[in-house]
């Protein structure tokens, strides 16, 4: 089995073969949900950083007992998996105030499960000297909390090594995006989302090695013929099936600005000096997330640059019902993209729901017809 197949074989399991082996070897796993969490700190502690996902899980009845139907269904699906035992392999959780739904998810999760290790990483909503200082302290506190509870010493050397590991990953992912965005693409959007999702359930060092393999395999590959090159942007979605469906209709998702996509790594590099300060700056300054309330211009520049780089024919903004942040952001993005001559399809959809597929198909097909694909 080659590297990509090996990823694909487990890309929609939660408790993957890999994690099972890791646990059996006595390894620890820390769950986190938001890209504002510096995985380097967890990696440096010799722990597996696991990004909480639901892969479009359709059931929410346990989640609905605590969160409301007015809460984001991605959060309700993750809570479901937390409460039905699927996530029992986690040795602890790092909470972040990514958004109000996410805060609600974590509070209810902890209320029911009561993890022994449950650390709240507080992320400011704007970038300024004072908020950077605060976030730096937050990271030190997280570092202390982890070393204290898991009895490991997280040295600066270990941190710098972890940072280097993720720098290499970033470099490889950028190569992967180059293969994806080039005139004759070598990877599909579904493949890339799979790679990034699965990568977020691996130790950095292992993910890096896998990526090397994938890049070799894909170097001269090519994707099936397509009708149009699209960019996918919007809220947290790990619904690989959604992307697969779109590509089955002839749309090539040539690039993205998703947090299960390029946003999770793109601008995180460079800088030097104290590792904790470095991480604080890298993470807070380049979140590209609408939860940062003063950074629209930076986000917009990033989106436009990405769209141009991948030379897309159109953009699809997808967000889950009840997502306030992306719901409002989508209005600005739509206006600005169209001002720049990039046609837009806005898909406000129910996360993980098969109900919408018929309707989404129609909208995607019509959009392809509209942009003359």
């Amino acid at each position: 089995m080659n590297a990509l197949q090996c990823l694909q074989s487990q890309s929609t399991d939660i408790f993957t073969e890999y994690v099972r082996d890791w646990k059996e070897k006595g390894g620890k796993v820390l769950g986190y949900a938001c890209v504002a969490t510096p995985v380097e700190v967890i990696e440096a502690a010799g722990i597996l950083p696991y990004r909480i996902k639901a892969f479009g899980h359709p059931d929410t009845e346990l989640g609905d007992a605590y969160l409301a139907r007015f809460n984001c269904r991605f959060c309700r699906a993750c809570l479901q998996l937390g409460l039905d035992g699927t996530y029992d392999f986690l040795d602890g959780i790092i909470e972040t105030n990514g958004c109000d739904h996410l805060r609600g998810m974590f509070e209810n999760w902890q209320h029911v499960k009561g993890y022994e290790f449950f650390h709240y990483l507080k992320v400011p909503h704007f970038v300024r000297e004072d908020s950077l200082d605060y976030f730096e302290e937050e990271l030190s506190l997280m570092r202390q909390a982890i070393s204290k509870y898991f009895g490991v010493d997280i040295t600066d050397e270990a941190l710098l090594k972890a940072i280097k590991t993720y720098d290499e990953i970033q470099g490889k992912l950028k190569k992967l995006y180059a293969l994806r965005e080039q005139a004759r693409p070598a990877v599909t959007g579904a493949e890339v989302m799979q790679i990034i999702c699965t990568g977020s359930s691996l130790r950095g060092e292992d993910f890096g090695a896998l990526l090397t393999g994938i890049l070799e395999e894909k170097a001269n590959a090519s994707v099936p013929p397509y009708r149009a090159r699209l960019m996918l942007l919007g809220s947290a979605t790990d619904e690989i099936d959604l992307v697969r469906e779109m590509e089955a209709q002839g749309a090539l998702i040539a690039t993205d600005a998703l947090c299960f996509g390029s946003r999770s790594f793109w601008a995180r590099a460079g800088g030097k000096g104290d590792p904790v300060r470095l991480l604080a700056e890298r993470y807070l300054s380049h979140l590209f997330c609408p939860r940062m309330f003063t950074e629209y211009q930076e986000r917009w520049d990033y989106i436009l640059e990405t769209a141009r780089r991948a030379n897309v024919d159109g953009a699809v903004i997808v967000y889950n019902k009840f997502c306030d942040l992306h719901g409002v952001e989508a209005v600005s993005q739509r206006m600005d993209l169209e001002k720049n001559g990039i046609p837009v399809l806005v898909l406000e959809k129910d996360y993980g729901s098969q109900a919408d597929t018929g309707r989404i198909k129609t909208r995607v097909q019509a959009f392809l017809e509209r942009i003359g694909g």
């Binding site: 359709p58 059931d59 929410t60 009845e61 346990l62 609905d64 007992a65 605590y66 139907r69 269904r73 129910d350 993980g352 729901s353 098969q354 109900a355 919408d356 597929t357 018929g358 309707r359």
Partner: protein, 256 residues
């Protein structure tokens, strides 16, 4: 002492005649345009079934959403208290009632004395209501009465994942268009209702002796699925669960 209980719901009107806490007879009809006349014939039906006349009645209690549309009865009570009354009378051990009616799913919490401690009603979203099942039945060409038997024929699992009734219908239509087996889809619809009941039960933060009432409570294809997932001891409502409201109303009349 003989008392009549009347429950005028959004889909069905139900009537029972009770004597000293025992159900003598019952009758159920659709609630449609002309309530006053329907209720008259309903009362006649239930009385003749019990073999008595109006003069033999010592009292009449009325409940249900349409209660205010008839000038009848000596007691008028809302359906929550009537359902609570009926359950504490017929299944005294029960502390959690899951009532699945035409318009809403209501969970009612009873204390040791069988008094209502707390209740929660989900009536904002159609999903899970009797009305919802009726509409889905329409799309699938199945009457509510036949739903159980039909869902039983399912050989495979079709999962219904939309949480909005309007979209569930288009989901159902899509499945049909894709040639899915209607029985399997029906089973999927029942499963989705069961899930709503499960969250409703969990919302009270504990699970204990419980029972189902209301029209949808009759559907094994829903209740069996829910029971698999609700911890705590299940008590079967000793008579037609759809009658719970009417029985409660009759009991209140008896008290007076």
């Amino acid at each position: 002492m003989k008392c009549l209980g009347l429950d005028i719901g959004s889909l069905f009107s139900k009537a029972v005649v009770m004597e000293d806490g025992e159900v003598l007879s019952s009758a159920v009809i659709d609630t449609t345009g002309n309530v006053a006349d329907e209720v008259d014939s309903l009362i006649d039906a239930v009385l003749s079934a019990a073999g008595i006349t109006r003069d033999d009645l010592d009292g009449m209690g009325v409940t249900g959403r349409g209660a205010d549309m008839v000038e009848l009865g000596d007691v008028s009570k809302d359906d929550v208290s009537c359902i609570g009354k009926a359950v504490s009378h017929l299944v005294p051990d029960v502390s959690l009632v899951l009532d699945m009616g035409g318009q809403s799913i209501t969970s009612i919490l009873l204390d040791e004395e069988g008094d209502i401690m707390d209740f929660m009603r989900n009536d904002k979203c159609a999903s899970g209501s009797g009305k919802f099942l009726e509409v889905m039945g329409g799309a699938l060409g199945v009457k509510i009465a036949e739903l159980d038997e039909f869902a039983g024929r399912a050989t495979k699992k079709v999962s219904i994942s939309s949480q909005c009734g309007v979209f569930v219908e288009s989901e159902v239509v899509t499945h049909l268009n894709e040639g899915e087996d209607a029985a399997a889809i029906t089973a999927g619809v029942c499963e989705s209702v069961a899930k709503i009941v499960i969250s409703q039960a969990l919302k009270f933060g504990f699970q204990d002796d419980y029972t189902f009432t209301g029209g949808v409570g009759k559907l094994k294809s829903v209740t069996d699925r829910a029971r698999q997932r609700i911890r705590g001891a299940y008590h079967e409502f000793p008579c037609d669960p759809q009658l719970a409201g009417a029985i409660g109303a009759a009991l209140f009349a008896e008290e007076r």
